[in-house]
Assembly symmetry: C2
Homo-oligomer: 451 residues x 2
């Protein structure tokens, strides 16, 4: 056919995209995360990536999992290969309540669990259910980049609430809610990551948990508790989840991606009945039903394998990597400050005054080390003086080498800032707005911002 596409309106559409004028308003809010341009770079073998959030799977019992997958399909293939229910397989939901007992959520009803395509999808459903354009969502300052993306796509207004080394500050939360209400703003929910925060690396203290739950209850603000790393504390079992204080005021999001593996894309939401009903409708509408193979494989792993023993092994492995990073930071980067994680994947680094993590990134990548600029974790452009360093994936030796390289980039940057003042960008450096070479057409590999 030789006709060209007629545009819906005279001024709409363009030669690059004839459908430009047809997109919904919210589609304009979908954007690639800041760190997506890193895809092609961080996977180069010569670069030490301290950017990614991929779990380290080297200790998984691969041979057992392989045999287990075979048995699953051989003996339950007709069920495993079929559609399931939108809410998720009942047997897995039962196992999930047992997993949540480690977070202090005792006696949860499997009927209040909804299985999702990773907990990211549960978060997307929650956003779909609650956010009208312009509604306020509260989030820690900083907050998970993938959650901010979901809230942006729903045209929410994210208001950050301060945190310190003990996590979200209750007084700041209360003051923020009251201030917003006094200005007539609608606060839909608080999105919080109480354990081993992404990106801040801190954990909400036990005393604050009760207080924050009480404040939100009193103010009628739903809590969305995101807990992908909860079981990965270095020193102890998890503190009680916020949902254990007040199940009717909390939507709890859980994930198998960090305590087991992300490959099946199975997570869940545990929610009050009425919200649970709507989450099931959202799931039926979005995907009909989550993967039965994935659900059954994970249920089998939880039933037949010492999964908590595996979690303990993961803890030791991540602790070793965390210590390597903290030691290297102490040795090579004494001018920076950083948080001391008790678990999880990340530490949050504050740069010396005048340095800009976002504009420094291309020079770091040229120096063969990658991180995520702090700006990715704010809705409002803050974070230039921070970077997230992850210790989950590289070996302790690689981590040490990565921090050494990063220190030399930081030191060079400091010299420039001292000579020329903040904001200086060397003439020969790629500019911050086009920090990296274009992504090659090959498969970019896992996203470095994967949680």
């Amino acid at each position: 056919m030789s006709e060209t596409i007629r545009r819906p309106g005279d001024t709409e559409g363009n030669r690059l995209d004839p459908w430009f004028g047809s997109y919904a308003a919210r589609a304009r809010n979908l954007r690639a995360s800041e760190i997506r341009a890193l895809f092609s770079v961080v996977s180069r073998p010569e670069v030490v990536s301290l950017a990614g959030g991929m779990p380290n799977l080297k200790d998984l019992p691969i041979a057992e999992l392989a045999e287990s997958a075979k048995q699953l399909i051989l003996h339950h293939g007709a069920v495993a290969m079929q559609y399931g229910s939108g809410q998720g397989w009942e047997v897995l939901r039962e196992r999930i309540t047992e997993v949540m007992a480690y977070d202090g959520i005792v006696g949860a009803d499997p009927d209040d669990v909804v299985v999702t395509t990773g907990s990211q999808q549960a978060l997307d459903y929650v956003a779909e259910l609650f956010i009208d354009p312009g509604d306020v969502v509260l989030a820690e300052s900083p907050s998970y980049v993938g959650a901010l993306g979901v809230f942006r796509a729903r045209q929410a207004d994210v208001v950050h609430v301060d945190m310190d080394q003990d996590g979200l500050i209750p007084e700041a939360l209360e003051a923020t809610i009251r201030g917003l209400k006094s200005r007539g703003r609608r606060v839909k929910f608080l999105y919080t990551i109480p354990n081993f925060h992404n990106p801040a690396g801190v954990t909400l203290s036990e005393s604050r948990r009760a207080l924050i739950t009480r404040i939100c209850l009193r103010e009628g603000v739903l809590i969305v508790e995101d807990n992908p790393y909860g079981l990965l504390g270095f020193h102890s079992d998890p503190l009680p989840a916020l949902a254990s204080y007040c199940p009717e005021g909390v939507v709890y999001l859980g994930s198998f991606s960090k305590m087991f593996a992300p490959g099946f894309r199975i997570g869940w939401a545990y929610a009050p009945h009425a919200i649970r009903d709507k989450l099931v409708l959202a799931s039926e509408s979005a995907i009909l039903s989550p993967s039965m193979v994935g659900q059954m494989a994970i249920a089998q792993y939880l039933s037949e394998y010492d999964w908590y023993g595996q979690v303990k092994q993961f803890r030791g492995m991540y602790q070793e990597r965390c210590e390597a990073m903290l030691d290297a930071l102490g040795e090579y980067m004494p001018d920076c400050r950083w948080t001391i994680p008790d678990g999880g994947f990340y530490t949050w680094v504050t740069l010396p005054e005048g340095l800009d993590a976002k504009s420094m990134l291309p020079r770091a990548v040229r120096g063969q080390v990658a991180y995520v600029s702090g700006t990715a974790f704010y809705y409002d452009g803050r974070g230039t003086d921070h970077m997230r360093l992850s210790f989950c994936y590289p070996t302790p030796e690689e981590i040490r080498e990565g921090v050494r390289r990063l220190a030399s980039v930081v030191n060079a940057e400091k010299e420039l800032v001292e000579m020329f003042g903040a904001g200086f960008v060397p003439a020969d450096a790629p500019s911050a707005s086009s920090p990296l070479p274009p992504t090659p057409p090959e498969d970019p590999g896992p996203a470095p911002d994967a949680r």
Copy 2:
């Protein structure tokens, strides 16, 4: 904690759901499909279900698939169990372009394919990208219940366009578009199922394919071509996809659920570059990445197994069932009319005048046979004189028995209508508004509306 939850506003919230006042506007448009109440009933062994859209998996090579899953995890576990890219695994996208070649889509670039959690999710993304509240979506009359649910959740206004035994009627499409435009309405896209339509069972003729593509191009209306059943024609390979006429004007949705199995929940969209970019962003936001295990298992199946031979086996199996249904309809229900499918899962039955498929359903279920009322497939309450019968899952003998039972329900209904006039509901029958016993707490099993 003894405090109760404070409601966001005085008149908002209620005792059943304290968060009632907090939901987004669009959440009110999420509703259970008409046929969801059937969940608990159609899975009873004594009921012959002609309602479900589950593929029949009895011919799958389970032993080979089991061994294949084992080898996959054993040799590629570190990749299979990890996060992937939001767009999907490149190897699978390559295989997908080979599958689409059977639909006449030749030389598709794998870079224009986005892998999703079943094609339902691709449809959800398309709706997210294009539909603002009040926008018009065109769909066949009738159309797939799961698509209507997605459009409703996005607050679209679906306008049905007439079809006949050769599928969507081009003249009706053109007149509808022009009528809408003359009234200043914004038509975002045409949603169409050209092959073995769900629920109508008809196929768009080849001559109409060119014509419909041309009309949509000229009018600037994007085509969303949903093709889950395309390979399952009884008599021949598929007619060319609409996307083969004009790739830049069509988003093509593909699925492995019917040509292979739904258990991995893997489908795809093939879209023009600019739309593809936005679909990837939607995927990253909604789920980070689709399941690598599922993608690799399907890529392996496509590479190592005679999948097209398997498709041919499925065709024969479904054809036998279809013939059993058509024969039984001819024998037992001569007062009804029905479409003659050339493939797929469904026939669309027109009831004798005065009968109401929706209000008859409880009596059918009491008579131990289930179907889907035609009303499920309309946005506007039409369809009471139709029902969708599926022949995909039961055996030919069960199908025959199911139609026999249905005929006796229809005949009894006809007698009542002849005696008392249309609209009569027997006093002892459950009313249409509470057609079925409440769903038991057990897992409801697969949704009967699964595509």
